[in-house]
């Protein structure tokens, strides 16, 4: 698959169809990949693919916004929805992006992997298992044990029109739990306990803004939190300040969050951000029958309305 990808990219670059290609490359250790920008045909050897490629590369499309040329990138099924939203939000033109779909069959949660094995050299997906190479030995592990949480609710990889597909794009179907199970668990708590739960999370936040900066949907020219007048947010990091940050950010995720899970992955202090954004996603879906990133023609939920929203209002 890697070879096929490299060939496609080489061709695109050599034909001048794209200015550069955004893909995954190896990091310092085998388990650490890193995004890479390929500009010349001879660089394509750097491109890799494995279940350890968490990055949603659509985030890097922000960089092409003001340019004119075309850019190629590789996306997992979940990340493809980001492209739909970027087009919808008038941030990119679909025809300026060459999208290579890669049939992801689940991403590995690094923390789970490191807990289970030491000295892992490589991981490869195979059917219902991951093959984990440690030294000479290859362990076959059930996917469920190592999957990233968000991969359990993988459901949309096929709705997108790719320019190239490396194999068959299909959702990874795992487990019977609702994708909103973690949200629902919180919803069942009394309001005081939810407050205590989130307060403890927000208290820990160091406001590094990694969750915002990694987000494909955060494409504002200048973030509202950087505004000096008005000051939506003080630089201080009291739990209430942090709550302001997270709630406003969650608000801005309405109708945009595609659950790529990047925010939660990069949070250094382990705030379960998906439980915040999934709540927004759930309500948008249930109240307004809207899912982000599905079709370019759809109008986002907060810039449209139905006369019969009244029914929702009265029933809620």
């Amino acid at each position: 698959m890697e070879q096929e990808l490299r060939e496609i990219v080489r061709k695109l670059l050599e034909e001048g169809a794209i200015e550069y290609f955004i893909g995954y490359a190896e990091g310092v250790e085998p388990l650490h990949t890193t995004p890479c920008f390929i500009e010349r045909g001879e660089q394509v050897q750097a491109l890799v693919w494995s279940p350890l490629c968490p990055y949603n590369l659509a985030r890097y499309l922000h960089q092409m916004k003001d340019g004119a040329g075309k850019v190629g990138l590789v996306v997992k099924g979940c990340d493809a929805r980001a492209i739909v939203e970027l087009v919808k939000g008038n941030q990119i033109q679909r025809e300026r992006v060459v999208v290579v779909g890669i049939p992801c069959q689940g991403q590995v949660d690094l923390a789970k992997l490191e807990d289970a094995f030491e000295g892992v050299e490589a991981v490869e997906g195979k059917g219902d298992t991951f093959l984990v190479t440690v030294g000479e030995k290859v362990h076959s592990v059930e996917k469920e044990r190592l999957l990233r949480e968000k991969c359990f609710s993988c459901r949309h990889p096929i709705s997108f029109e790719y320019d190239f597909v490396l194999g068959e794009m299909s959702p990874l179907v795992y487990g019977s739990e609702s994708e909103f199970a973690a949200v629902e668990e919180l919803e069942r708590l009394p309001v005081e306990e939810r407050r205590a739960f989130w307060r403890a999370q927000f208290e820990r936040c160091i406001r590094c803004y990694a969750c915002r900066d990694i987000c494909y949907a955060c494409y504002c020219q200048e973030c509202i939190f950087e505004s000096k007048a008005p000051r939506w947010l003080e630089k201080t990091t009291t739990p209430l300040d942090n709550q302001t940050y997270h709630l406003i950010r969650a608000w801005h995720m309405v109708g945009r969050c595609i659950d790529c899970g990047e925010c939660e992955r990069v949070c250094p202090v382990g705030i379960p951000l998906r439980r915040l954004y999934k709540k927004v996603e759930k309500e948008v879906e249930q109240l307004f029958d809207y899912q982000a990133g599905m079709r370019v023609e759809e109008v986002p939920p907060l810039v449209s309305f139905q006369i019969d929203d009244l029914v929702i209002e009265e029933s809620s």
Binding site: G27, V28, E29, L31, H32, T33, T34, P35, C36, F37, Y55, R59, Y60, Q63, A200, Q201, R204, I206, R207, C208, Y209, A210, R212, D213, I214, E226, E234, K235, T236, T237, T238, E262, R265, V266, P268, V269, G270, I271
Partner: protein, 330 residues
């Protein structure tokens, strides 16, 4: 040198806690240095805390003073200060070194009393690093010994079911002295041998030669400009001052800031001398390997590896060091 049984450690720390506020590695979502009420809350199975212990000396948000206007006067009420002396348990040698570096910054020509009060009022009990280290650790490359007692008052080194106890200061002695019965003398040569690599010779000149190199732009394309590397860096210490309240009354705070943020160097008139990611990324590495050593005579990195471990986009400082060492001119 002394030893203490691991099973006695809790007892010792509980006694210490009667006279001091004890901070140590505890689980709060992730491992953090937190105030603990009893040694049960401590965790021992950790490579290092996510947020470095600098936040105990340079808190992320620190009120410096409160102010209010009254009858034509502005009245200031100073804040800060410690209520009780503190003991920080479990600091790793790399972080202990980082505090020595921060001392140079905050105890230079002008003493930063807010920092110094906390620094002086805190006794450090270091914990030598386990072997093998975390995969992102590279302190030895910077000439730091993961078993070194440098910068701590007491260093504990694991020896099976005991810790080897090195007391290096009088302050350290104050903690051990009252509990003599828990400590036993150690045998000669029990201290495992540490390792200490070569520090990165000539890196300052080398990086200096790469000022205009295309590498920084390359790097900045991947960099998102978030604050993970700087906030988690034990030696980064930039801050911003901010007033909360009105012109009638309020408080002045000192809050961490990050040179990775786009608005870090933006001036009131709108001009930004580091307008793009390229300048900002370059700044960080120049600071660690060129400016800091120039000013304080020592590299500004302690090799804790946090920035590499937590960078959202997998940017690894070791790659950058390697690149600089390989390509930079002397």
């Amino acid at each position: 040198m002394k030893t203490i049984k691991k099973s006695h450690l809790a007892e010792w720390l509980n006694r210490v806690a009667q006279g001091y506020d004890v901070f140590g590695p505890a689980l709060d979502g992730v491992v953090q240095f937190k105030r603990v009420n009893s040694s049960d809350q401590l965790v021992f199975d950790y490579a290092n805390s996510v947020v470095p212990p600098k936040n105990l000396f340079l808190p992320q948000t620190e009120c410096l003073f409160a102010f209010r206007r009254e009858e034509g006067l502005v009245i200031l009420e100073p804040r800060g200060g410690l209520e009780r002396e503190r003991v920080l348990f479990g600091i790793r040698p790399c972080d202990a070194r980082s505090l020595l570096l921060l001392d140079k910054v905050f105890n230079g020509d002008l003493e930063d009393t807010y920092y110094q009060e906390k620094r002086r009022g805190t006794i450090l009990i270091g914990l030598a690093c386990p072997s093998p280290p975390q995969r992102t650790c590279f302190c030895t490359s910077l000439g730091i010994d993961p078993l070194s007692p440098e910068g701590v008052d007491i260093l504990l080194t694991g020896l099976g079911d005991r810790y080897l106890v090195e007391v290096t200061t009088e302050k350290g002695e104050e903690l051990v002295g009252p509990s003599q019965e828990l400590f036993f003398p150690s045998a000669e040569g029990e201290k495992p041998k540490g390792e200490k690599g070569k520090s990165l010779e000539g890196i300052g000149e080398k990086i200096g030669s790469l000022w205009e190199d295309g590498y920084w732009r390359e790097l900045s394309r991947r960099c998102l400009g978030c604050g993970v590397c700087t906030y988690l860096c034990p030696t980064c210490h930039c801050f911003d001052l901010t007033d909360v309240g009105s012109t009638l009354s309020g408080k002045r705070f000192r809050c961490w800031d990050s040179c990775m943020f786009a608005d870090f160097t933006r001036m009131a008139g709108g001009v930004n001398p580091r307008p793009t990611g390229k300048e900002r990324v370059r700044q960080r590495y120049f600071d660690k390997f060129s400016y800091f050593p120039e000013q304080y005579g020592v590299l500004g990195c302690v090799g804790c590896g946090r920035c590499s471990q937590y960078c959202p986009m997998g940017i690894d400082i070791r790659t950058i060091i390697n690149e600089v060492m390989a390509r930079g001119a002397k």
